[in-house]
Amino acid sequence: MSGVRLLVGTRKGAFILASNAKREQWEVKGPHFGGWEVYHMKGSPVAPNRIYASQSSGFFGQIIQRSDDGGETWYQPGLKPGEPTKNEAGLPLDESNKFVYDTSQTTGKPLTTHQWFDGSQHPWEFKRVWHLEPSLNDPNTVYAGVEDAALFRTTDGGKTWHELAGLRGHPSGSQWAPGAGGMCLHTILLDPTNPRRIYTAISAAGAFRSDDAGAQWKPINRGLLSKYIPKPDAEVGHCVHKIAMHPSRPNVLFMQKHWDVMRSNDSGESWQEVSGNLPTDFGFPIAVHAHEPETIYVIPVKSDGEHYPLEGKLRVYRSRKGGNEWEELTKGLPQRDCYVDILRDSMAVDSLDQCGLYFGTTGGQVYSSVDDGDSWNPIVRDLPPVVSVEAQTLQ
């Protein structure tokens, strides 16, 4: 029987919300990893019961967890319960949480510095995994976007992680700077028609594209304008919040920038602003309808200093024309006294015939819509602050 599984990461653990295709009744399981921050969870497109989770803590650092049964049970890759924890030499088998920048002469890049808040240079330091993006065809291959910005990859199901150092080693690296949330690589998009093409986005550096499976990268920020950086149209330094694409048209990209909603029709070579009639174009997430490549959604918040909905009214905005013309969607959403935020990885769509849309808030609500956003219902209201939502369509 078909259905949907939502993978919800929060500030205090992970939750799994499951429903049949009607999406009227939901079963809520969790918290998994209680007390830990779960920045992101995502399942393999080719093996949906294989789910990866990024579990982190300011106290204890970064952990990667994996489930092979749809989130019922979890373990650190390389450490399945009951299996040996040491090799014959007595050394730990597990390196699943070891994210070390590759500085080797053969595949790495020197560990350099990036711009710090005060304009000085600051060394790259690993902090956490923000985003996990499983391969489109191999459940053992996963990409990880980390803070301080870099891209890692595992090809053994999460046991070991290796940096694709060409991105961090880009000559512009010294000009990258942390956004308010840190210098994070938060977006990874894999082109379903070209396995060598990968898009990433970094706050605050901008968008980058690789056409050789992650070895070399080029900034793709032409057309972005960021008012308060020294050179508003600089090659790098833009605070990109999220990029989305429809799998049927991977050359068309939609971006929610710090301010401005943008669109590219040429794989990021150039961008045009499509904020149109939005009441504010500051926001974090952006999503594309599963079956309508020109239907996109954003959830604006008031400003960079006021991360909550305008006038205390929670509103999703939909454009059926790929931007510029937006309609306000409010039915079922609080229209007074609402001051939550919706973070960049907190909106998702399923791909059932009637596409479902979902978003989570820092107030702990997860809302769903099964009518293209015309109306919304809360699935849960009182989770810890929601950091990420991913939707798995189960057939």
Binding site: W36, F60, G61, K86, K98
Partner: protein
């Protein structure tokens, strides 16, 4: 035999109930205790010390015999009462922070 008490989050992570008992050859130090702990429970690798720098994570503290040993050299021998198992070596998640 060295007794180690871990904070609850790490006990859950490594499937540990109660305190950990480690056999360490020679004089036990912070380094040898954590080396042995990580070898026995690889799930803890990187959670107490940074993988790369091997430095104590900033928000964790090491205590024993009612003393804060956090800023001691990792190669300083631990107090005798810890060496002989009378007192545990405690890893504490910082409790202040406002």
């Amino acid at each position: 035999m060295i007794r180690v008490i871990l904070p609850p989050h790490l006990r859950v992570l490594a499937h540990i109930e109660g305190e950990v008992r480690l056999d360490i050859q020679g004089q036990a130090t912070q380094r040898s205790v954590i080396d042995t702990l990580e070898a026995s429970y690889p799930a803890l690798s990187g959670t107490i010390r940074d993988h790369t720098t091997q430095k104590r994570r900033a928000l964790l503290r090491f205590y024993a015999c009612e003393e804060d040993l956090s800023n001691e050299s990792p190669d300083t021998p631990l107090p005798k009462a810890v060496q002989n198992g009378e007192e545990p070596f405690l890893v504490i998640a910082a409790v202040a922070g406002g």
